[in-house]
Amino acid sequence: MDRDRDVRSSRRGDEPIEMMTEVAESHEIYRTEFEQIQRQGAENLRSLRERAFGQFVHSGWPTTRLEPWRFTNVAPIARSRFRLPSVGTGVGGDNTADVAGAIDHTQLAPFELAGIDGPRVVCINGRFSSALSGASLATLPAGVEVHGLADVLATNPALVESHLSKLAGFDTPASSFTALNTGLLQDGVVVRVAAHTVVETPIQLLFVTAGGGQIMTHPRVLVLAGEQSQLRLVESYGSVPGVTGDDDTPYFTNAVTEVVVGDGAVVDHHKLVRERAQAYHIASMHLTTGRGSTFSSHAITLGGAIVRNDVRAEMNGEDGECTLNGLYLANGRSLVDNHTTIHHAAPHCNSHELYKGILDDQSRAVFNGKIIVAIDAQKTDAKQTNKALLLSEDAQINTKPELEIFADDVRCTHGATIGQLDENALFYLRARGLDVEQARNVLIHAFASDLLNRITIPSIRAQLDDVLLQQLPGTGHASFAIA
C-alpha cells in the first residue's frame, strides 16, 4: 500500500515519517485560493482551472518515489503555507496594483540588461503590471503583440484559447506543479509575433516577487512565434526586498511557459533565475517546433533554495533544430534540478544539449536528459553533454541520460563528466601572480566560457562574466544571485 512506499521514499529524502502525513493532506490547503480565483478570475478559464486543480488534488505533491522527482524532495514546499498575494478581479488585480505601485524602477535596476532598449514586461507577484511595463510596450514594432494574459482573456480570448495549456500537460503525478499553476491561473504574459516578422531587440519578461510574507506566484507565459518569424526572449525571475524588510522569508515561484515555434521560425529563449537564497522556484517550459524551425534555450540558474527547470521540447516539424543549453551555479545547501525532454517526433531534426553546473559547499544538482526518437523520426541527430564542476567535497550531482530510440537510422550521443578544479592549472596561474581566489575564479569562468560564448545577448554575457569572476565561491555567500 502507498503508505509503505511513502516511508521508504521519506527515508531516502531524510524526512521524518510524520512529515509525509502532513504532506499527504497539504495539497488541499490551496482550495480556498482556488475557489476565490474561480469566483473572481477570468470566466473563460473556469473549466480548465477546475480540471487542473482537481488533478493537483488527485496527484498531490510529487514525492521522491516518482522517477522524475527521485533526487528532488519538495517537502519543504509542500509543508509550507504560502499566501497568494493577489486574488483580484480579472484585469490588473487589486492588490497587485498596490504592491506594484510601491515599486519604482530603481528597485528593478538589478534586473536591468544594459544596452537593451526594447519591450520589457514586468509582472509583480505573477500579475501583469501595466504601470511598470507600459512605456516600453507603447512602441512595439509592427507584427509584435505583448499583453497581460488576464487582459487578453477579457478582451480577445480567441487569441490564446487554442494554445493555452495545450502543450503544458498536467495529467500525471509528476506534472503536479503544472496542475497547480493551471488550477490557480489568473494572469501572465502573452507574446505573439506575426508571420515573417523579425524582432531585433530581445523582449524581456520580468517576474518579480515583492512584498512580505510567504508569497507564492504562478507565472504563466505563452509565446506564439508565427511562420518565418524571429525573436529573442529573456525570461527573468527574482525578487525585490519586501516592504517589511523581511528578506529571509521563503517564497515560491511556480512558473509555466508554453512556446509555439512556427514553421521556419527562429526563437532564442533565455531564462535567468536569480531567486533569493531562501526561495523555491519550480518551472517548466513546453515547446513545439515547426518544420524548418530553430529553437534555442539558455537556462541560467544563479540563485534559489530549490530550483527546478523542466524543458520539454516536441520536435513536430521536419528539419527542425533544437538547442538546449544550461548553466547553473549553486552554493550553500541549495538544490538545482534540470530535467530536459526532447521528443524527436519528426524526421531530419537535430538537437544539441549542453548543461554545465558549478557546485560549491553542500549544494546538490540533478541533471536528467531524456531523448525520445519516434519510430519514423529517421535521420535524427541528437547530442547531449552534461558537465559539472564540484568545488567542495560535499557538493553532489546526480546525472542521468535517458535515451528511448525507436527509429533505426539515427545518431544519438550523450556524455557526462564530473570534475574538480585542475591543481596544475591553479598552480600555473599562481606562478604567474594570481592569488588563489583569482585563480579559482578564472578557472571557474573558463569552465563556463563555451556556454557563455553561445549567449547572443552581450549584456547577459557581461553579467555572467561578473558573477563568475567576482563572486568568491566558498566564502559563505548565501547566493550567487546578482540582486
Partner: protein, 260 residues
C-alpha cells in the same frame, strides 16, 4: 639575489634534493645540468613554490626575504618567474587575459599603475616582435592545442612581458628545434641586464651556445657535485654525465641512466 643553503626536499615521501647550495647574484646566468632524475626540475619547482614538494631542511633567501615562506603568487609578484617544463593548457582562458592579469599583479607589487586594455596591447605588441609571435596568439586559450615548441615560446613570451628579476627556465629547450631555440634564446638574452639573473635548467649543452652562462653546476643525486664556467658544459657534452658520476662517486645515482 638568491642564496640557497643546504636545501633538502621530498616529493611523495622520497628525498630528491639532498643539500643544495647555490648562490646567484644579479647579472649572472647560471646553468644547472644533470642527468634525468638528478633533481633539476625539483629544484626549479621548489623555488617556484609548488606545494607537493616538501622542504625538509635548508633555506632559500631571495633579496633578503625567506622565499620558502612566500606563496607562489607572492614569489611571482616579487619577480621570480618559472618557465614551466610542461606548460599547462587552460581551455577557456585566453592568453591576453592571463597576461594582463599577471602583468598588473606584478605592476601593483612594484608600485606601478595598472595597464588598461589599450596600454597593455601596446606594451605586449612590442615584445611579440622579438619572439616572432603572431598576434592571434593573444586570443587563443592558454596553451590549448599548442605544439610543444609553441608552448615553450609562449612561456618565454610571458617572461619577456613580465620582466622578472629572477627567471628560472625548466628544460625550456627540450623539444625545440634549432630555429625555435634561437628565438627563445633571443627572448632570454633580451632580458639580460645587471639587475636580473637567470637560472637555466637543462639536460643538454646546446641551449648554452645561445644563452651563454657565467656558471655551470652539475646536479647529481640531489647535490651539486661540480661547478665551473661555461667550458664545463662542453666537457659534459663530450664525456657524458657518467664521467662526473664516476669522478665524484656520488651515492644513489645507480638508478639514473648516464645519458639518453
Amino acid at each position: 639575489m638568491l642564496e640557497v643553503k643546504n636545501l633538502h626536499a621530498r616529493v611523495g615521501g622520497r628525498e630528491i634534493l639532498k643539500g643544495i647550495d647555490l648562490s646567484v647574484k644579479a647579472g649572472e646566468v647560471h646553468a644547472i645540468m644533470g642527468p634525468n632524475g638528478s633533481g633539476k626540475s625539483t629544484l626549479a619547482c621548489v623555488l617556484a613554490g609548488r606545494d607537493e614538494y616538501h622542504v625538509t631542511d635548508g633555506s632559500v633567501d631571495y633579496e633578503g626575504s625567506d622565499l620558502l615562506d612566500m606563496e607562489p603568487e607572492e614569489r611571482a609578484r616579487a619577480g621570480v618567474f618559472l618557465a614551466f617544463q610542461y606548460p599547462v593548457e587552460i581551455p577557456g582562458v585566453n592568453n591576453a587575459y592571463l597576461l594582463k592579469a599577471a602583468l598588473n599583479e606584478v605592476r601593483k607589487h612594484r608600485g606601478d599603475s595598472e595597464l588598461d586594455a589599450i596600454d597593455f596591447m601596446e606594451f605586449v605588441k612590442e615584445r611579440m616582435g622579438v619572439l616572432e609571435i603572431d598576434q592571434g596568439l593573444l586570443k587563443r586559450p592558454v596553451n590549448e592545442g599548442f605544439s610543444g615548441g609553441e608552448k615553450k615560446r609562449n612561456e618565454i613570451f610571458q617572461m619577456v612581458v613580465l620582466e622578472p628579476k629572477l627567471a628560472i627556465m625548466d628544460e625550456t629547450d627540450s623539444g625545440l628545434d634549432i630555429d625555435a631555440l634561437k628565438v627563445v634564446s633571443r627572448g632570454v638574452n633580451a632580458l639580460r641586464s645587471p639587475e636580473r639573473a637567470t637560472v637555466v635548467v637543462t639536460h643538454y649543452q646546446r641551449l648554452l651556445n645561445y644563452i651563454v652562462p657565467d656558471f655551470v653546476h652539475v646536479l647529481s643525486g640531489g647535490r651539486i657535485v661540480k661547478t665551473g664556467g661555461k667550458e664545463l658544459a662542453l666537457e659534459l657534452e663530450e664525456k657524458g654525465y657518467g664521467w662526473i658520476e664516476t669522478e665524484t662517486s656520488a651515492p644513489h645515482v645507480a638508478a639514473t641512466s648516464p645519458s639518453r
